[in-house]
């Protein structure tokens, strides 16, 4: 789960990582009230999408008066489909030097890795591609945590003059990375200003698997992703028009790939997980169909714990009202019963994943 910049900064601040004085507002008037001290302020749209800056979601107010004006502009703005509902207003700190500091999980070494570059404030992927030697990586043993010698060495690379304070920031960032179950904790830029070193931006991604032991805001529901998660399923929206309902993530990806292979475009990834019953299948159908682009649906179930007759029952319960054609492929536990139910309702059946994919692509081409 991604946190908003303002949420991440609040956590940073709790760990003693210096951030500019600021607060979050959902209307321009209260934002104006905050900005009483003369001087420059930054107004930043609080959205989870990247590229805020380019979209005009970050503005520098030259004086308190401009704070209200820019907040007004940014609030309600749409950035990559996300409406801006909150702005973070901060006292402006002029960066004399912008650095990059991030901690993520290195799958190869199966350990946390601290990534540091004396050139931050920009796209770090870009730096990594163009000037890889400017990116420094330090692997951390998860049993011992970050050693002082490691944070000290990285800090000296970032800015020798401020190495002491940066080393402490690295230690603190590592602590919160572990204690808050992060998969990413990033400061970009970490800036040297005439007032000291500050985290001018903050990014945190929390391990979804660890949310049960962390105390974060509830996810805003309503999105099909959230809806699916609520029901123990996994959904990812895609650009195409063929709705896919599959049990198992690997099989679901295989179905998507085959749909594509036969010239179709999947509208979604949907893993209903093992043991899905009729009720869950109905819910899954609802979520998939909430995407109005969907022109046909393919259901592919490999019955193990999941029973094919349960799935079939879920399908026939809703099939009348869905308004798009559906191809089903059921195999494994109670396969015969499942197929019998579908047959009764005249639902198109396939016997392999490939057949099902081919059939659903054909349906879309036929009906459109």
């Amino acid at each position: 789960m991604k946190l908003y910049e303002s949420e991440a900064k609040e956590i940073f601040s709790g760990y003693g990582i210096p951030i500019p004085k600021g607060a979050v507002f959902d209307n321009p008037e209260t934002a104006e009230e905050f900005a009483v001290k003369p001087g420059k302020y930054v107004i930043k749209a609080q959205v989870l999408a990247g590229g805020r800056g380019k979209a005009g979601g970050v503005r520098i107010a030259q004086n308190p008066a401009e704070v209200k004006q820019f907040s007004q502009i940014i609030l309600g703005m749409s950035i990559k489909g996300n409406t801006v509902r909150k702005v973070l207003v901060e006292e402006y700190r002029k960066p004399e030097k912008e650095m990059y500091l991030g901690i993520t999980i290195d799958r190869n070494s199966r350990s946390p890795v601290i990534i540091a570059s004396p050139e931050g404030g920009v796209d770090i992927e870009e730096t990594a591609r163009k000037t890889a030697y400017k990116i420094h990586r330090e692997h951390i043993n998860p049993l011992t945590g970050v050693h002082l010698y490691q944070s000290r060495a990285l800090a000296a690379i970032l800015d020798r003059e401020n190495a002491g304070v940066i080393s402490k920031i690295i230690q603190k960032l590592y602590s919160l990375f572990v204690e808050k179950d992060c998969t990413l904790a990033e400061i970009n830029p970490l800036a040297v200003t005439d007032d000291g070193v500050f985290a001018l931006d903050a990014k945190m991604v929390i391990d979804d698997n660890a949310l049960f032991r962390q105390d974060f805001r509830q996810e805003i529901s309503g999105s099909p992703e959230a809806e699916a998660r609520k029901h123990g399923m996994s959904y990812v929206g895609l650009e195409g028009n063929i709705g896919c309902i599959v049990n198992g993530a690997g099989l679901a990806m295989a179905v998507l790939d085959m749909v594509k292979h036969y010239g179709g475009e999947p509208a979604n990834f949907m893993d209903v997980r093992a043991g899905a019953n009729a009720e869950q299948v109905r819910t899954a159908m609802g979520i998939v169909l909430s995407n109005k682009n969907v022109k046909a649906i393919v259901v592919d179930i490999f019955g193990g714990i999941t029973k094919c007759d349960e799935v079939a029952r879920g399908i026939v319960d809703v099939i009348a009202g869905i308004g798009v054609p559906l191809v089903a492929r059921l195999t494994g536990t109670n396969e015969a019963e499942g197929r019998a139910i579908l047959e009764e309702h005249g639902i198109i059946m396939a016997s392999t994943t490939e057949e099902a994919a081919k059939a659903v692509v054909g349906l879309v081409h036929t009906y459109n």
Binding site: R213, S234, L251, A252, M253, A254, D271, A274
Partner: protein
């Protein structure tokens, strides 16, 4: 022959009295697995599926001397269950649990790295050696004994592939699901090495997916192998930055795409199948060569 497990492998089930643990224990027994006992704290002294339940793995170790443990406990307790089994000296652990926090798993890995305990998973369907034993949750009816080794990051897709192979008369030596999480105990290479050394395996099917570089990392070893390896990699349609069901199936910052992986395999001269049905074709091709 098989890798990792045989008829004689004595298995304890951690979380045996839970609904999934209990159901799957029954299934394993039906398959022929030598289930020696189970562990559920506080339920020691009871009996389930005809096997004794212990309060701790240590007690199980003393009572029934297991060689392996299969773990069915909630995600928040999985790391502890692994530490407990490893500290009790069990050599093979299969963690079925899905949803284990990655920080827990990093600590577990760093700890196990220095021990002789092997962990399969977490978030995996386990290991099946037809005619020998099954540790995990793969459906019983799909398997048939033969000379194809399967190693996969996936669950249902693995069943699909096993099933289609069996239906086409191609049996398996051992099928191993190594797990769909970003940090897992045993890698492709570890399993490939076992297949390479297993006289009962003549050909290997490797099922990969997006995320990480486990597939690419196995190429060097595959090229050294005497046995043919068929790759199959899914997730071509996955958009970047989205987790595709498995916690480990995510294309981050442009790396770990299915197309890159497929290309890497092909560039190394490794056959990549296009679908489960194509796996059957490729295996048949290669079995002809083997025979």
């Amino acid at each position: 022959m098989s890798i990792l497990i045989t008829k004689d492998t004595r298995v304890v089930v951690q979380g045996i009295t839970g609904s999934v643990g209990s159901f799957q224990t029954g299934e394993m027994i039906k398959f022929g697995t030598n289930i020696a006992g189970g562990v559920t704290p506080g339920k020691g002294g009871t009996v389930i599926h005809g096997v004794p339940v212990f309060n701790s793995v240590k007690e199980a170790m003393e009572g029934v001397q297991p060689d392996a443990s299969v773990i069915f406990v909630p995600p928040g307790f999985a790391a502890d269950a692994i530490f407990e089994a490893a500290d009790a000296g069990i050599g093979l652990l299969v963690c079925i649990t899905e949803g284990m926090p990655v920080h827990d798993m990093m600590r577990v890995y760093a700890y196990l790295d220095k021990t002789s305990t092997r962990l399969i998973g977490p978030n995996c369907p386990g290991i099946t050696s037809p005619g020998e034993s099954k540790i995990g949750i793969m459906p019983n009816p799909i398997h048939s004994h033969g000379n194809v080794g399967i190693v996969s990051r996936s669950g249902t897709l693995t069943y699909e592939i096993i099933d289609i192979l069996s239906k086409n008369g191609i049996g398996q030596s051992t099928s191993v699901g190594i797990g769909g999480d970003p940090v897992i105990g045993t890698s492709f290479v570890d399993i490939l090495e076992m297949f390479e050394n297993d006289p009962g395996t003549d050909i290997v099917v490797l099922v990969g997916e997006i995320g990480g570089s486990a597939e690419e990392d196995s190429i060097g070893f595959i090229k050294e192998m005497s046995k043919p390896v068929i790759g199959y990699i899914v997730g071509v349609s996955a958009p970047p930055g989205k987790t595709m069901g498995h916690a480990g199936a995510i294309v981050s910052t442009g790396s770990g795409t299915a197309l890159d992986k497929i290309a890497a395999f092909q560039n190394a001269g490794i056959v990549v199948a296009k679908s489960p049905a194509d796996i059957v074709a490729q295996v048949n091709n290669n079995l002809l060569k083997v025979d």
